[in-house]
Symmetry: C2
Subunit: 111 residues, 2 copies
DNA sequence: GAGACATATCGTAGATCGACGATAGGCAAT
DNA sequence: ATTGCCTATCGTCGATCTACGATATGTCTC
């Protein structure tokens, strides 16, 4: 890991200007990233992407977690806007919010 | 938020097959996402992307955080592989690991 | 209205995060 | 070797996450 000074030459161009991105932007992006920062939530998102939508109960069945825990993760995903839940009688049907998903993808891609 | 049964019609296609992604894949991705799940880390990454590299001290100066806190965030970014640190005499020069960055972008884009 | 079912929320406990100051470690120059 | 600078690590504290069971809420059916 140790570099000689010769190597370091091409490492640090102090000419370049420092410019920190907007704080609000960073917080927005961090929030979205955080929604995906848990394997269970990743799996839920992926599950919903494979289907166009899915009943809450189906998600619970497929996950090795208690119903209340899954519900909590779904709440987080809803709060970040990545997922939408629509009441369908006694059940709830979840689906991906394509718009939010696109926003996240763009934010990461444009990083 | 309440939907009628008529609306729900187009919501849940139970024909589609459920298929949960690989657990290891989900954990891998969650780890990478988690690296970006904090505004400070986002700003650091963005900062390093604007320049080709940056001294640790410069990062600390630009962030409203204690040196030890910034160092902790850098450690996390290094552990996930997104950032590389190269020792340059008494200082450390950080730069983005383009490869890991590309991997992250691809993972998100292919979500 | 009563009962059955699906989901959300509450309360709790342990684990982890995020912040800091203090301190240790490494390197360069004297 | 000593000093000074830069960075990493340690120890700590409060806040938040994550998991669960228990319970509340809401909706259909009878």
């Amino acid at each position: 890991m140790v570099r000689t000074n010769a190597d370091a030459q091409k490492c640090c161009n102090t000419d370049e200007k420092l410019s920190l991105p907007d704080v609000a932007w960073a917080e927005d992006m961090a929030k979205l990233s955080w929604a995906l920062a848990h394997p269970a939530r990743i799996r839920i998102v992926r599950l919903l992407l494979n289907r166009t939508s899915c009943m809450c109960g189906e998600i619970v069945e497929e996950m090795p977690l208690a119903q209340s825990t899954v519900s909590q993760h779904l709440k987080i995903l809803k709060e970040t806007g990545l997922v939408q839940g629509e009441i369908d009688g006694p059940r709830v049907c979840y689906c991906i919010n394509e718009e939010a998903m696109a926003k996240l993808k763009k934010l990461i891609a444009d990083l």
